[in-house]
């Protein structure tokens, strides 16, 4: 690619203008509200938008990038205080592209360049680059769209329409709603009680029903929004793998394309959410080291898979982690009561507190039942497997998580014992993968924990 400094596609000026407008929106609204619709304030608002346009144009004009002959990416930007970012091509760890609605309108893409060991934010963000230039830039940065010597990827998996709907409906996004539901319930409760106390119940006979209706409507709306959100994020989800990297494309309005060097994938996690477990469904996540830390959806290797098919899919997409997820070695039966007691104690405490404060003593029984089920679930979920240098650790924390990692690439492992476990001859074992995520096995036989500790030690040398 030419070493002369290049400007972004003119669409960049539009994007910068919109950004400036967004930044100026609050002051403009305040002006209009305070000014009360006088013509002078309207003029001011128009002036603000014009100024934003000028600022956007100037920002676009002053932003240039180039890849120098010595393989360095240089980005200059800033109108009044120009800054220069220099990134050696050898340090570029990923070149991702995104395409929002505006970019799509102009047929351009946003290019995000991330370096190894960089922070959460990409080092270089180019807001608008035309398609042919994206290909040239990728080439110059050593991250071509496809390996030069082959056109077909080694593996390609696409999310079907039915699976997309299933993923959206059972998605973890629903979990976000729970506190909201509780909050709405509390408010409704307050209003209900108040209307009784003040005798308002006569004047507002339909109030509780109306409130319930509003609450139900609100919940339904949030549900629809969260499902739509998942559809927007995962529509067209496609994973491709060639020899060195994974390429993940997804999104309906905001199209994203991320490429992920396979050697950065330190582990894969099979997540069976509460709503997915009953249907034998799970999501696959990647645990990467030194990659952009981003919302959950970007760390998704595949949004929905039958749990039974997960090992085959992992083998296709991350061959280095191919292994069976069954059978797992469970903790000993005698550990069951130790799995049960922590949730039971918490539930009993919560029940007593609830009883003392609200007098709702009846709640203690359902709480205990839920806690017992959770404890039993944790016991039945717990298990491990170490074969062919792959370590598998499964545990349950509401959702069931199965971590698959190469034993030799674990960051550390630890065995621990509380005084109570020492008396009972039990011990915990924890492993940590490159992303910082830990897998914990609690209440194993001491001999088992020790054996696993030694085998992991041998594998890591």
């Amino acid at each position: 690619m030419s070493p002369e400094p290049r400007r972004l596609h003119p669409a960049g000026a539009v994007l910068e203008t919109l950004k400036a407008v967004r930044e100026a929106l609050l002051p403009i609204i305040v002006l209009i509200v305070v000014g009360g619709g006088r013509s002078s304030t309207a003029l001011l608002a128009v002036g603000g938008i014009v100024a934003a346009g000028v600022a956007g144009y100037l920002r676009w004009r002053s932003t240039t990038y180039r890849v120098r002959e010595d393989d360095t990416l240089i980005l200059r930007s800033g109108v009044f205080s120009p800054s220069e970012t220099t990134v050696p091509v050898s340090r570029v760890s990923s070149v991702d592209t995104e395409q929002g609605p505006i970019q799509r309108l102009f047929g351009v893409q946003e290019v995000l360049v991330q370096t190894a060991g960089g922070g959460a934010e990409p080092e270089v963000v180019l807001g608008a680059v035309a398609e042919p230039e994206v290909a040239r830039l990728r080439e110059a940065l050593g991250h071509p769209e496809r390996a030069a010597d082959r056109d077909e990827p080694a593996a390609r998996v696409r999310l079907s329409g039915g699976a997309l709907v299933a993923a959206a409906v059972t998605g973890p996004q629903l979990g976000v709603l729970l506190p909201l539901v509780a909050g709405v319930g509390a408010v409704a409760d307050d209003l209900f009680e108040e209307s009784f106390d003040s005798g308002l119940v006569d004047s507002l006979p339909d109030a509780p029903a109306a409130i319930a209706l509003v609450a139900a409507g609100l919940i339904a709306a949030l549900l629809v929004i969260s499902i739509l959100g998942a559809v927007l994020a995962f529509r067209g989800f496609t994973v491709e793998r060639d020899e060195e990297r994974l390429r993940i494309r997804r999104g309906l309005l905001q199209r994203r394309a991320a490429s992920l060097p396979l050697h950065r994938v330190h582990a894969v996690r099979v997540v069976e959410g509460l709503l997915r477990r009953p249907f034998g469904l799970a999501a696959l996540r990647v645990e990467t080291v030194g990659y952009r830390s981003e919302p959950v959806s970007t760390r998704t290797l595949f949004p929905l898979v039958r749990t039974a098919d997960a090992p085959a899919l992992i083998a296709r997409l991350v061959p280095g982690l191919a292994t069976d997820l069954q059978p797992l070695e469970p903790p000993p039966r005698r550990a069951l009561r130790r799995y049960l007691s922590p949730p039971l104690v918490v539930a009993a405490g919560a029940g007593v507190a609830l009883g003392l404060t609200t007098g709702a003593w009846w709640a203690i029984l359902p709480l205990l039942v839920i806690a017992a089920l959770e404890g039993l679930g944790r016991f039945r979920a717990a298990g491990w497997r170490l074969a062919d240098g792959r370590v598998v650790v499964r545990e349950r924390r509401l959702a069931r998580h199965t971590i698959v990692a190469r034993a030799e690439r674990l960051q550390q492992h630890a065995r621990s014992q509380t005084p109570l476990q020492r008396r009972a001859g039990l011990a915990d074992l924890a492993v940590a993968v490159g992303s910082g995520r830990r897998g914990r096995l609690i209440h194993l036989e001491v001999a088992t924990a020790d054996e696993l500790f030694q085998r992991l030690r041998a594998a890591s040398r």
């Binding site: 190894a116 550390q412 492992h413 621990s416 490159g434 910082g436 500790f453 030694q454 890591s460 040398r461």
Partner: protein, 172 residues
């Protein structure tokens, strides 16, 4: 070592338990450090107890119970925990791994492969310098581990040794 050789229980030599202890005056240092939260805790509990019993009219027994619990917590933190921590702490830096054992009550043994160490540094605080102590912090991609309560020259030597051993990692 090849993966093929790691299976088959009973055939591998057990990892030797880590053997090196921390500086003896680490106990005193931790006790002084614990005073930093224990004393304020007791003072706050006394004030709160007074406020509750005289101001808010809570039962008088609370005025004794609250400071008593605070004092007991402080006593455990100052007198018992540093001694138990010191008694349990062991470490070893071998060519291929760092071996740590720590904990006051729950005892944890942690193994960090040398190839995973990203960088290592020593840290001293105002208080630790009074005791001539420093901590070595070992950073990996998954987080950090520390060996606290080392004599300053020891800490520097351990830091340099780990840095030397970890200098040629085989992969990120």
């Amino acid at each position: 070592m090849s993966e093929d050789h790691v299976d088959g229980p009973g055939l591998r030599p057990r990892a030797p338990e880590p053997a090196r202890t921390l500086a003896p005056n680490a106990r005193g240092y931790w006790a002084v450090e614990a005073l930093g939260w224990a004393v304020p805790l007791v003072i706050v509990s006394l004030v709160a107890a007074r406020g509750l019993t005289e101001g808010a009219g809570a039962p008088g027994v609370l005025g004794i119970l609250l400071p008593a619990v605070a004092a007991l917590t402080g006593l455990v933190g100052v007198a018992l925990v540093p001694r138990r921590r010191w008694a349990h702490w062991r470490y070893d830096v071998r060519d291929e791994e760092i071996d740590l054992r720590s904990g006051a009550f729950t005892i944890t043994r942690t193994l960090i492969p040398m190839a995973r160490v990203q960088h290592v540094d020593t840290k001293r605080t105002v208080v630790s310098q009074l005791f001539g102590l420093a901590a070595v912090t070992i950073h990996t991609a998954a987080g950090r581990n520390a060996i606290p309560g080392l004599a300053e020259p020891d800490a520097a030597a351990i830091r340099d040794r780990i840095a030397e051993l970890a200098r040629t990692p085989d992969e990120p």
